[in-house]
Subunit: 1022 residues, 2 copies
């Protein structure tokens, strides 16, 4: 019997709740994303004055002089504590904000301090919400169909499911101050917006269908037991009467729904006032059942049932339970006779075969509390639709003619099974959230909610269990199975047992059911409004607005429409499983939230309620899931589908709420776990993929100097693998935190534009060189480390007087080698294609001069995965010398590439030893003059100079010759990949090294210089 206590939720209440989640005075950092938090903080009146006050009072405090430098940003404990008191008041009095906002609110509700105790605040509301229509209308029938044992099982299953959920909920509810808002807030704040929204809507739909169920229940009592004459439609035949009844339900249900909606709209405050009346009705009814059961031990009530053979007869269609009556000494056919036989004669030939061959007997409907019926009703007796209720003990002569009901036998109106009954009973166990929904009104919510809820569940469970046994042992089986009391003159079956009169229960249950319906209809729109105001589900936004009278009119309208759907279904037995599903979904997530938080051991997970355990929550979760699938697997799938769609929708809408939910803790744990799993050395060659560290240069305004480096990185990755973008700011870390963050933001923006998924790391260092060394050393974490460095070419090195630019470059090359990292230097990176260009033809040329791990082969393959390069062809050139057999080499190379599964044209370029040209000498001379100028005095001996010279000429010769060949073959290539020679071991040759690289790449538009990281990155093996 789930419904809602009226807890209005207001805009401001919510936002101030959000802002109060952390005590945020001290967050003096200036990150962009924290801005809205700041604003909230600033808005709170009592947080603002902290700075000034502290400074005045405490700065010259003698006893804390040691901390005086702190006190302007860190509050003294005494001042914090005095503020906390206000704080608490304000929190729990969040309603006070409402008054400021809407005048109506203050009229409706005067601000009162939360002062409700466990009994009034939690126990009784829970009790009232849990007990419900099913107990009165269906429990006897369930006992009859499933038997006592299976009924006990059903009750136990449902109640233990809610008990476990209550335990999980207690843990969640006592994990900190819960401001007004109730269960939905608790769940959404501990599971995050996506799950929270999905669960909230499930809860809403459940509550809405619950209102439909209550209305149907009320109408059923009204039409079946109170005023049967009011029926509009009348069936002609038994089959028709079923559908006529459904139509009656539809008509009266719709009328009732409309009336109730109007009541809720105009007089919501009366609904709450009447809650205790409704509870009284329930309690009186239950007491009357117990009283009746006890009385039946000695004086069982008179409810005779008329049986024909072993078949139960509908009792209100005839007067005397006999075949014949003696009217003035003449035996004449009874009314019963006339029903079964052709009218007007006593000849048995014209009668129904079964009627003739079997006796009419009358038995006690309520034999009274005794073991006999207990044993009879012990085991299940499920019926098919239309099957006639039979009493096992009675004699019956079967006739094999076609069965005719004559409208005289009591028969099952639906087919029953254990699983169906579970779905129908479950709503009787719901309503456990009633206490936590009142969290805002409780004096000590953290104590009252667990105790009250668990006590209420215990009470109701005991009542249900004892009722099952009582019903089973007091009432005759055929009466129990008789859903609408046809055999006992259309009395409510449970009413027959009650004392002093069946009317106590009929009227009591009618009012309590109407009341429950009203409460559901009041609670559901408010829940919807609360969800809508959280603004996580955009299309619900309209339902967040209250009308001038403060009522959520639109939400009420939607609720009414959905409830009308339930009413059109018209059958209590069909609606109950639907709402079971939604409540079970909701409970499932409560258990999930508790289990996840317990397992994650977030430091903030410190519920005051200690008697929870993740295993219990997990068991509860499993039971919810099991019950869902037991009661109806297709409803379960539909409900999960709905919840899943809501989840995805909220995720798609990108809810930006940060509620500090457990799910985020989960992803943190997942990331940590995944990283820890990884850390077992470098990956196998087969798993090697470039994990880039892109070293970016920033200009003075912290803009990225060569964004094409990022473009290139994104093209290389085609969206997969790790990319870390690093940059160095020159300065002192203590002063440059802001600058660092600005740079990080700039880089992140650029990464967004260039569609590089990855991480950004800006460091402040006194020298750029130092910063780069540290980036190369310490970027990444565990197994997620870069294995390849991408850096730009120091374009101005020749012009610049400052050798630092190229010194840094060469130092970085050395560092990458020392750290066993691969290196890529795209030269003329500005000419590289953007992500929008498409090369429709052309080649990517690889000049494979030395083999250092296969990077040269792998890179074009990776580039070709990207749209920009897809249509380029790959060509591999290699250089054959005098003593090489170039034809064999080409064949071998082709085989090798075939085995590498890389498609490429293969060419072997023969380079014969030749004399060193005059041009080479000239270039060498130019280069040496330049470098000599720069480091005149550093060299000591002429001997050494000559040695270097000799080597320089040879190197220059290589560079010139190779460049000649490359330009000759690849001048029109889209991209040329080239082995990057290593820097000289001796730092003296550094300038020359730059010159060699320049000569090597002269005349080529786009060159990518590549150095392997000292390990194989490509393999022919599978």
């Amino acid at each position: 019997m789930p419904h809602f206590t009226v807890v209005p939720v207001k805009d401001r209440a919510q936002s101030s709740y959000d802002s109060l989640e952390g005590i945020n005075w001290v967050d003096y950092r200036d990150t962009g994303q924290d801005n809205h938090d700041h604003q909230d903080t600033v808005n709170s009146p009592f947080l603002n004055s902290a700075h000034a006050a502290n400074k005045k009072n405490d700065f010259y405090d003698r006893n804390l002089a040691l901390f005086e430098e702190e006190l302007d940003i860190r509050p003294k404990v005494s001042s914090l504590l005095s503020r906390l008191v206000n704080y608490t008041n304000i929190t729990q009095g969040a309603k006070e904000h409402e008054e400021e906002e809407s005048a109506e609110a203050s009229r409706r509700k005067t601000p009162k301090s939360p002062n409700m105790g466990t009994l009034m605040g939690v126990y009784l509301p829970c009790l009232q919400n849990i007990f419900g229509v099913i107990l009165f209308l269906r429990l006897t029938w369930i006992v009859g169909m499933a038997g006592i044992m299976q009924s006990l099982l059903i009750v136990l299953m449902c109640c233990s499911c809610t008990m476990l959920t209550a335990i999980s909920m207690s843990a969640i509810a006592t994990n900190g101050v819960v401001p007004a808002g109730g269960a939905y807030f608790m769940i959404s704040r501990s599971l995050g917006p996506e799950f929270g929204g999905a669960v909230g809507l499930c809860f809403y739909l459940g509550t809405t269908f619950a209102s439909a169920m209550y209305i149907l229940g009320a109408i059923e009592i009204f039409l079946k037991y109170l005023v049967p004459q009011a029926a509009i439609f009348h069936g002609t035949d038994p089959l028709g009467s079923d559908s006529a009844m459904l139509n009656n339900m539809r008509v009266y249900g719709s009328i009732c729904l409309t009336l109730m909606a109007v009541v809720v709209f105009v007089g919501v405050r009366y609904v709450n006032k009447l809650a205790s009346l409704f509870l009284a009705c329930v309690i009186i009814s239950i007491v009357s059942i117990y009283a009746g059961a006890i009385k039946s031990m000695t004086h069982p009530p008179e409810f005779p049932i008329c049986m024909l053979g072993n078949r139960t007869l509908v009792r209100d269609r005839f007067d005397v339970c006999a075949k014949t009556v003696i009217q003035g000494n003449i035996t004449v056919p009874s009314q019963l006779w006339e029903r079964f036989c052709l009218p007007g004669n006593m000849s048995s030939a014209q009668c129904d075969d079964y009627f003739i061959q079997n006796n009419v007997t009358e038995i006690q409907g309520i034999p009274g509390l005794a073991c006999v019926s207990l044993l009879e009703n012990m085991w299940g007796n499920y019926l098919q639709k239309g099957e006639i209720l039979e009493k096992a003990g009675l004699q019956s002569v079967d006739t094999h003619g076609a069965l005719d009901n004559f409208g005289m036998y009591v028969s099952a109106d639906i087919a029953t099974s254990f699983t169906l009954l579970v779905g129908i009973f479950f709503p009787s166990a719901t309503g456990i959230m009633a206490g936590s929904n009142r969290s805002g009104d409780l004096r000590d919510a953290q104590k009252s909610i667990p105790v009250g809820t668990i006590l209420a569940i215990t009470t109701t469970s005991l009542v249900y269990l004892s009722s099952v046994v009582l019903f089973g042992s007091c009432i005759e089986g055929v009466v129990l199975r008789d859903k609408f009391g046809d055999a006992v003159r259309k009395n409510l079956v449970v009413g027959t047992l009650s004392w002093p009169s069946p009317w106590v229960i009929v009227i009591g249950s009618f009012f309590s059911t109407v009341g429950a319906g009203l409460q559901s209809l009041t609670g559901a729109p408010r829940l919807l409004q609360a969800i809508a105001k959280d603004n996580i589900i955009p299309f619900l936004r309209v339902f967040g607005h209250g009308k001038t009278n403060g009522e959520p009119t639109w939400a009420l309208l939607l609720t009414g429409l959905i409830a009308e759907l339930g009413i059109l279904i018209a059958s209590l037995d069909m609606v109950a499983p639907i709402l079971s599903m939604f409540f079970l979904m909701c409970y499932l997530f409560v258990n999930l939230a508790c289990a996840v938080q317990t397992l994650l051991r977030t430091p903030n997970w410190r519920p005051r309620f200690k008697y929870y355990h993740w295993a219990l929550s997990f068991l509860g979760m499993s039971m919810c899931l099991a019950l869902m699938f037991i009661s109806s697997w297709y409803y379960a799938i539909v409900a999960m589908g709905i919840a899943g769609m809501i989840y995805k929708y909220i995720e798609y809408q990108g809810a930006e709420k940060e509620w500090g939910d457990g799910i985020r803790g989960l992803s943190l744990s997942a990331a940590r776990y995944a990283l820890l799993r990884l850390e077992v050395g470098p990956p196998h060659t087969k798993n090697w993929r470039p994990q880039l560290l892109v070293l970016l240069k920033l200009d003075e305004d912290l803009h990225v100097k060569y964004p094409r480096l990022l473009t290139f990185a994104s093209q290389l990755k085609a969206g997969k693998g790790l990319t870390i973008v690093g940059s160095v700011i020159q300065g002192n870390f203590l002063d440059s935190y802001g600058e660092m963050q600005a740079a990080e933001q700039a880089i992140k923006n650029m990464m967004e534009i260039e569609r590089v998924k990855g991480f950004c790391q800006v460091v402040v260092a006194s020298k750029v060189r130092e910063g780069i060394v540290h980036l190369i050393q310490s970027c990444g974490l565990g197994g997620m480390k870069h294995n390849t460095v991408v850096m730009g070419w120091p374009y101005g090195w020749r012009q610049s007087e400052d050798p630092r630019a190229w010194k840094t470059f060469i130092n970085t090359v050395r560092c990458t080698t020392a750290a066993h990292l691969a290196l890529m230097v795209p030269k003329n990176v500005s000419f590289y294609p953007s992500n929008h260009e498409r090369f429709t033809d052309g080649n990517i040329d690889v000049w494979w001069i030395v083999h250092d791990g296969g990077m040269l082969m792998l890179l074009p393959f990776l580039l070709k995965q990207h749209k920009v390069w897809r249509k380029c062809k790959m060509r591999i050139f290699t250089v054959a010398q005098m003593d090489d057999n170039s034809i064999q080499m080409k064949k071998d190379l082709a085989t090798f590439l075939y085995q590498l599964r890389i498609e490429a044209e293969v060419e072997v370029v023969e380079m014969h030893d030749s004399d060193i040209s005059a041009y080479t000498y000239e270039r060498t001379l130019m280069m040496e003059q330049r470098s000599q100028m720069l480091r005149q005095m550093r060299l000591s001996s002429a001997e050494r100079q000559r040695e270097v010279d000799q080597s320089n000429v040879r190197r220059m010769h290589t560079a010139v010759k190779l460049n000649e060949v490359i330009v000759n073959r690849s001048h029109d290539a889209r991209l040329v990949l080239l082995n990057m020679p290593g820097p000289p071991r001796n730092a003296d040759g550094d300038e020359n090294y730059m010159e060699f690289l320049e000569v090597l790449t002269e005349g080529l538009e786009r060159v990518l210089l590549v150095r392997g990281g000292g390990r194989e990155v490509i393999t022919i093996y599978s």
Copy 2:
């Protein structure tokens, strides 16, 4: 029809395969974990000479002078290529190693170059392995039961499942050179040891049960159709005859299995020789079916069936199909009559009711290829066990007496359903791995495997599909449903259709089935041996050894035992679903491997076979799963359970194999994905947990100086959350890579000992201070960043002449503040408890002087989660001053802690302003003298000196007074937590700051100084 081609797998072949996976010359790093790789590399004879050769030939190479510094570690392309050729030879000739090892091997198998083409190497073996016993023994029956349409569906489902698997397998098989080893190697190398082992064993069990199935099939043919007289057991009644037959199967099956095992043991080479004979049998049989079907169009074979009413009669129990026969003009009862009536008279009264009321007719068993029977057999006709085969078209008068079979009617021996038939048919689609198992013998495996396998599947699918239609359209329904041909005089049903004689098929299928059984029995032990030699499943190790004759004797024995289990089941229809499960598991994983690798886009995933797609693999995977659950959900669960247990076992045994599997790529991707999801700013207060950066000091020998820092970190985390352990080595990065790695190893070892789960980061920096700043800046990645720094106290700072120690300390404090990180400094960390100690009582005292985020409250809570501290009580002290209302403060504090859900004793200590004591002045003087001595000339004006003095006295006063109070209250506390004062803004006061901290903590055994990170870490809200 799955079995194995004989591909012996040898120890050395495997190890050399492993070593060849990467071309590892260039891996010159000296990490510990790479050692075994190195050794392998060094062991390979052709890799060893590389260095020397290169140096000699290439160093003075003119044309490559630019690269000369590289060439000693990076090979020139031409020399690489020439080596690659040998390399390829050696790889594919891995068998050559075997000969060295065992003399037998060379006798058995001469080293031959791989030279098989697609047809002989893949297509025909696949064909032979796929076609099998089910086609001959069960396909007619399946068509009869399920009808043509559903049979087509069954065939299509099974064949498309294997087709999709073949596509995935082709992609895996063409992703690089597959050395000898086949399917198991491919799967295990692309899915890793855990999955590989599980799949391998599934495949093994499948193959083993397949051998049992073949043996059962062969015995069935033998006993039913070839030599029925050989039956040992004879049933007395129809029910008994079933179990007698099963016993016959068991006895003959076991004999047959023993014989076959002996054949395999002594003459494995003949088995392979006979393969083509077996294939010929299959092909001839199939051709004879087609021939028979065509012939039946004009001359249907004579197979009359005798019907009584619409019931089919077992044909071999009587002679004439009539109720009476005319013997010499007298009508006498036929044999049939005598079977149904009491013997000796012609009166119908003594006869079976049904026999009397219905006519005996004779119809054509094989009406011949025509539309009539096609239509009749179109739809399914599933039977219950014992149900009599009835022909729908014939007249029948039902009698309602109890049904007596008389042993005369043909009835169903098992209950059939669509799902059952799927499980029975599936083995006919298996065997698709036969081609890839021969990978080592193929000339061009990368072309042959896909083409051959897919063609073979296409062929077999077409044969199955056409057979279904042919059977349905040529054979009478009751004959089709007649599993053992009882109605056609115990002929093999498919034999009745064949031309020229039923014996062609009976004999053909017998031999092919025996052959298939032999092959399975040969293949399975070898597969087991291969798995055992991989050494991932320790308890299988014994099966890795071959006996002196090279045969895997133990493996054969185990295989025989498992196959015997299958034979004891005795029914083909029961064994088939079992092996279906195992094969489906295996196929599922093949598809999974392909899908995962495609989705991960590992650069190394470049299959030559291009026509794969992850969606196809995924579809294949789903189909495998669906087929498993369709054919038998409990077998499916058992099979998955077995696979799961193997997986867990291998994982538990900690297989250290690094095969470069896709699963590792998966965890890399998962880690990356999880990290990328995280990066959205700092977590909510509710999710805050300490993520530690522990700064360790190393001594000269790279040992951890204060390992208790790690102990403390592990106690704080209780196993959860991020921990990064950082350390700085002073030096030049270019020279210190080895030292860095050694340090990292040392720290990792220490982390292992202290049970700290986390990451380690050692950086080399020219100054320790610089290194620490960089660690603080750049440790962690994305959302996985530290938020708290843990560092030790610079103990020797007073004694040391070198101010760098404490300068570094204070600088680190400043840096953490600048980086908004929290800081913890455990003082006297050596006195902190080890992880084995247990405090049984005592307090953790918190001195909460200023509020900086709640760290002080959170830390004891976290510590108390750890066993060491669990029994300690927490006390919170705060200091009240003159103007504070200490009683109210205490109440507020208690409320606050209640709302924080932290259990602690609360005390407010009143500290009244007092005069500064002489002791304070004395301490200040001492301190100032000391610092003055150290920085005599740095100060400029006396004015400033005095100003500082004044402040120093006040601070010292605080320190002394606070220390007094703390020692007074907490001298016996287990741990004292204390706000750490911030360092002075002005660097001049640094020495004094150290002195203040010393005074503040004097006389306390264990102190933890704590500074917040500038944000709240604890909240009262849920």
